[in-house]
């Protein structure tokens, strides 16, 4: 029997190696991490009205990025009777989304619109800033690695300001194609313009920050499907794993704007989006939904707003 000991030892060692290398995670599946969402409420934003608007008499204003009447950006009074628009605000062509910081500075993302000009791709690589005091619009941050192309003309597409630490999150969807998604979410420090990529391989058509009772999330409307996802902040850092919150009933719609409108209630603006050029931005092209979260059942109810 003793002479067979080396064979037995080898077989034993091979069995242990097989167990750890081949079967362990099959026999003991990784514990599933469950995602549990909590009730939330509308928080007061830290954003303040740009000072130049106050000086020009527009105490309450509507920001118009529709590109229908004015290129770039325009500000209207609530009743649409007065408008403020400067020719210099047209120099970076069409703009798509904005966020405002606590000083009243606007940060804006670009948008390719109707047709491509020689400058269009270059314009998509930048975030634009409108100074709170002067109202001057500048090319604030350029990331050259953002590369729009003939098969995907988009670059930066959405931006949001985080009032907790005065930083910005911006999403870019360039490089994505029919066979693969390569979008990123950048975390940007406005003080020194340093940035890091905090989410990879996710195309966020819109982003916004939402706080529940105990947690904080970056919400992201997907450019690739009709769903809203949440990225959780853990110890102030964004966890890059997306959690599905809900899916809109129409598979052709993509969430372009998320607004917290009341307790457990989101207003969703959705558009048809296929990574080709958008020719119209009027209200008829947008579909509005109200998404209500039930904290007891942990389910969402989605209703189209007529």
């Amino acid at each position: 029997m003793k002479k067979y000991a080396p064979i037995i030892v080898v077989l034993f060692l091979l069995a242990i190696a097989s167990y750890f290398l081949l079967f362990k995670d099959t026999i003991e599946p990784k514990k599933k991490t469950t995602f549990s969402f909590e009730e939330f409420n509308k928080n007061r934003s830290c954003a303040s009205l740009p000072k130049f608007l106050l000086e020009s008499g527009l105490r309450t204003s509507i920001i118009d990025l529709s590109q229908q009447k004015y290129k770039g950006i325009a500000f209207y009074t609530r009743n649409y009777q007065n408008v403020l628009h400067k020719k210099s605000w047209e120099r970076f062509d069409a703009l798509g989304t904005y966020t405002i910081d606590k000083f009243g500075n606007l940060y804006l993302t670009p948008n390719p619109f109707i047709s491509i000009k020689p400058s269009t791709f270059n314009l998509q690589k930048a975030i634009y800033k409108m100074d709170s005091t002067t109202g001057k619009l500048t090319r604030w941050l350029v990331i050259d690695s953002i590369s729009p192309s003939a098969t995907n003309p988009y670059g930066f597409i959405s931006i949001v300001y985080d009032c907790d630490d005065d930083t910005l999150y911006a999403s870019a969807i360039d490089k994505s194609g029919y066979k693969g998604i390569k979008g990123r979410i950048y975390h940007i420090n406005p003080k020194d313009k340093n940035y890091t990529i905090v989410v990879k391989n996710f195309d966020a058509l819109t982003i916004n920050i939402l706080k529940t009772k105990n947690k904080k999330y970056l919400l992201a409307g997907s450019a690739i499907d009709n769903s809203l996802y949440a990225f959780e902040f853990k110890n102030g850092k964004l966890n890059p794993k997306p959690h599905l919150l809900f899916t809109l009933p129409n598979p052709k719609l993509h969430i372009r704007k998320v607004k917290i409108i009341a307790k457990n209630s989101l207003q969703i603006e959705a558009i048809k989006f296929s990574y080709s050029l958008i020719a119209e931005t009027n209200k008829k092209q947008r579909y509005i939904f109200i998404a209500t979260f039930n904290p007891t059942t942990k389910k969402w109810e989605i209703k189209e707003k007529n």
Binding site: L22, I181, I224, S274
Partner: protein
Amino acid sequence: MTKEIKISIALLIIGLGAIGGGYLYKKSLKKVDEIKVSLEDRDDKKIILPELSDEPADIDEVKEYMKVLSATYKKGKSVLPLDDSELDSKGKIAQDVALKNKQFLSDTKTPDGKLLHNDIMRVVPAIESMLTKKSKKECAGHDCYVVEKYNFATNATTRAIVNVDTKRVLQVSRYANMQPDISNRLTRIAKAIALKSPQIIKELGYAPSPNELSMANVRTNLKESPCEDKHHLCVAPTFADHQKARALWAIVDLTDLRLAAAKWAGLGKTYTPACIDERSLQNKYIMENFCQKDNNLSRDGWELTYHLTGSDGLEIRDLKYNGNIVAKSLKIVDWHVAYKGLGADKLGDTNSTMIDGRRVEFVKGENNEYTFGYNDAMGCPMFSTSVVLAFNGPQIKPIIEGGKEIGFYILQDFRNPKWPMACNYRYQNKFEFYKDGSFRVVAINLGRGCSNKAIYRPVMRLDIDLDGNKEQFANYDNGVWKDWQIEGKYQSTSTEPLYKDSYLYKIYSATNSKEGFYIEPNRGQFGDNSRGDHERVFVTRFHKNEGDEDLLTLGSCCKLDKDGVEQYLNDEVIEAQNIVIWYVPKMQNDDRAGHEYCWADSGIDENGNPIVKLYPCIAGPKFVPISKVDK
């Protein structure tokens, strides 16, 4: 070393090898699992699109239905009531009452009296949730019925609540852009279209029987139709193949009475009818078959590769005739669309303004005139820099002349989703290949644009390849062929004398003048009601970055004296070089009754259904082999 130790070592080596191999295999499986999300639905099966056609399905059920409709119109009525077989005795009364109610029928005619196609879809006892407070009161103790009709021309549903006992209409509601459950009559027709469609029979491999088909997608509520972009009434009968756990979904357009699209899909929960609609299927089909891959074709002596581009329409590449290379690339890279306006002094000093509710680029001219408009790129429906998107795949059909097949053509349709509404466009790229070695590149405009003063300029990039790229270009000038030495342009007057009454330009081999093509500009002689090309021609030396790959929008829409190609004119020598011809026709639209050109109009046909009247404008030169002309 004992025998046992030798066995142990051998076991250890084999065992470690096997475990290592197993580990790598497992890792590779994980990689497959971790592939990032993409728009390609990996479980998706084949998509089938019928040939582009405006004709209803050629089957008895459809013909019978159209006969009944026609008979109804002859009586001056346009609402097709339900058959008695679909009604109970009270339902019959409810339908009669509703069909005499002015409010219920108020959308069945146009303001000028044209009848609009309406079908009664169902007549059933009314349920509480349909009733207003007042109606609820009146229906208590009475029989109330709901009568629903669908207006095919306006895509609207009208619902009447009828008190059968008092024979009174209690309420009428109209729902714009909504479709109701369909009648048994239309269910039968939809099934017949699906069952008898040649594409479905080909796909299944046999003629299916009615009991193989289910109608899971009969509309169950007033929600969007699968054909929502067209505002048509559509349903999706399904053929289930339980053995293979898949189903063939057929989308039947009941407004056009034909098959719109079909798709194989799994039987799982993922494949809800909501995911199946004509436009999405088209987009996936086009992306996967024509944008993501090249297609090869051999026919009538011609060999070619074709694909759809991101912004340069349908491109023909590596064209050969009888084994000889003819062209490296043929494509239409852009449409410049310019409109003329008066009142330039009011436009300020920006370069854009609002026209008909849209912000457009403009260029000021003389006499207070200005031009405004768009640069329209045509291309793939997703992941492209186009707004006029590929609709259906390329259609390949024979060219018949005098009953004889003389060649074939490839045609690709591009549309704004809302065409033919104002400021929406439809273009076609057509490449004709003849058995005698001639070919023609054709740009077609099907309107409708923003106004009646539009000038359309398709920019054709024609990279002819002759004699190892030693090419020569010449134009016919007062009876003499003049060779071009350097890059340049030529504006045709459309009245120049033509060589042998047909040809104004030629491209030929620098080493063999008999090899090459005469170029026949379109002066309206091709029998397609064209009003001519009025072309401007550019010849440039080939550079890869000058349009060999996808070319983004080129130049200005609205500078009528420039086509955008000027930027490539650098006085480079083109004699005996690899050259590219840019051919830019100019067409003006016309909306005068009886003279329409580059125009489209929505209307109502004799059956009360919506139709689009097309008035295409067509441009493009024909290339004829020199050896065929100078025999």
